[in-house]
Symmetry: C2
Subunit: 331 residues, 2 copies
Amino acid sequence: MTSKRARPTINQVAEAAGVTKSSVSRAFTRPEMLSEETVRKIFAAAEQLGYVPNHTARALSTGRHGNIALIVPDVANPFFPPLIRAAQAEADRSDYCVFLGNSDESPQQEDKLIGRFGGQVEGLVLVSSRMSDAQIVEHASRRPVVLVNRDVEGIPRVLIDSATGVAEAVEHLAELGHKKLVYVGGPHGSWSNKQRRNAVRRSARALGLDVSVISNEFAAFESGRKITASVLATGASAAIAFDDLTAQGMLAELADQGVSVPGQFSVVGCDDVLGAATYPSLTTVSNRSVEAGKTALTLLIDILENHAIRDVRYVLNTNLVVRNTTGPRAG
Amino acid sequence: MTSKRARPTINQVAEAAGVTKSSVSRAFTRPEMLSEETVRKIFAAAEQLGYVPNHTARALSTGRHGNIALIVPDVANPFFPPLIRAAQAEADRSDYCVFLGNSDESPQQEDKLIGRFGGQVEGLVLVSSRMSDAQIVEHASRRPVVLVNRDVEGIPRVLIDSATGVAEAVEHLAELGHKKLVYVGGPHGSWSNKQRRNAVRRSARALGLDVSVISNEFAAFESGRKITASVLATGASAAIAFDDLTAQGMLAELADQGVSVPGQFSVVGCDDVLGAATYPSLTTVSNRSVEAGKTALTLLIDILENHAIRDVRYVLNTNLVVRNTTGPRAG
DNA sequence: CTGTTAGCGCCTTCAG
DNA sequence: CTGAAGGCGCTAACAG
């Protein structure tokens, strides 16, 4: 078992290899500047001593630490883990370490986290940020920031365009004969929510459908259940929910109320995070969160390494995934 | 909009406040050593310049950087996000930043990640580590490590004891008249898998039930589907799956095969990550991942701040949650 | 190709 | 209570 003694420093390696620390430093950063012979000697000594360059010291001197931060509103929301995973994998390919932050849907907490990560991070990825445009711009003025699902001019961003999928959903319902539908909303600060709500309204108008909107701040299974009564009260025959969780809650409540789906009522989710796990399996709008996570990191790393601070707006389209919670209007 | 100019240093604050950098440093670390008057002056100057102590420089000089790493096999596995979230919240309370690592179920990747986080982390939390005991011990000799769902003597660990819940599951099935059951396994390197398998065998033997074990390296929906044929081939009337995902896949496949649940076959999951989302809703073993995450972090922080390197083995019991996928044996 | 010399920004004895 | 001085481990000109 290796002992716990302090890590060897660059100086010890230098001494052991019979060179100065400059050479050791170079051997680890720009070996092509040294003779093969010297590099070999240095690596041998380093290996022998178990030397690993001190990340912190290097960062202090270069100002680069190879860390990035990824902040999401809620790690436990099934929409985010696949995105986080994809982002991590991408960071990994370029040897970046990623700090994960959970803002708890709170702008204050988000701001605080950014401050805490502050000095030890080269760039930030803010996913579904709940902060104000002004705050975001402010932070982006200090270090590179890439946004996911948040559209702020001048800041590189990756947007999952659920509008296309939502539009398909409305058409789908129209074809099934539905005349009146309701959009069950999500968090106020959410860009995606706004986008989906607008898409529903626009398509409904174009197709001559009637649509009402019910807001529902906390998107989740339980709130989906609770909101169901109001949904039924509108007299609509179909609903499009902000996300799959909300839709799933509605499904459960509908079942408890004895309302058959899709016989008497149709439900469409959004983000396809549940797969075919609900019963009946949920008709929903596809999700591109994996690509979004990967793209966001690729963008950020590109900016960090090539100083390419261009104004990108990367849009990922979605589409409707028809399963079994939508059917012809009853009667 | 604040410009992007470099952050002010301790020296600039000192000059602005008319003191030396020693005093500024003290004002931020041990203000009780200074006169109130001086502290006030320094804070005013710092505020005015927008000074924030440089984390990296401080870390280099003190050796403490207030970061910890949390490594999990797969962020996207629904078992982990709640744990991650709880761990984060706990880290937050003590102002620690957390690096998240995704080992992809690979010991090599896990080892590599630890190396990458290496110098900039004060402690590690390894969740369901896939590394060998020796590797774990080796890493633990360098810096504090807390394990979750991995039982290595001498290393602080938090264990979710699914054995209690699994035992209840077996009893439950026995009471329902089942005579022959099968355990559908999970990843080979998984401590939890071993634990669950043993618990099934032990309880089955005690109750005089027959049990066969089917291994299934990749626990997930799809593999649950695929394994179903072999499960039915054993002639058992009930199955206990390594986790909910596997169970859910089995449920889907069983439905497709026209095998009714729980009429003709009973299924029990493990970890309760799906809630009531499956249909029929899944009978499963409760999960304590939130407490596990919180406890692991509390432990680690305690070790870091109080040098309390005791040998803790924290066990969280589980129990059976009966829902609707278990019923009397057919016939 | 390699050594010398300054720092990076902060903390921490040691004096006073 | 406060200042002066050295150092944490490494990188980066600048000379040879």
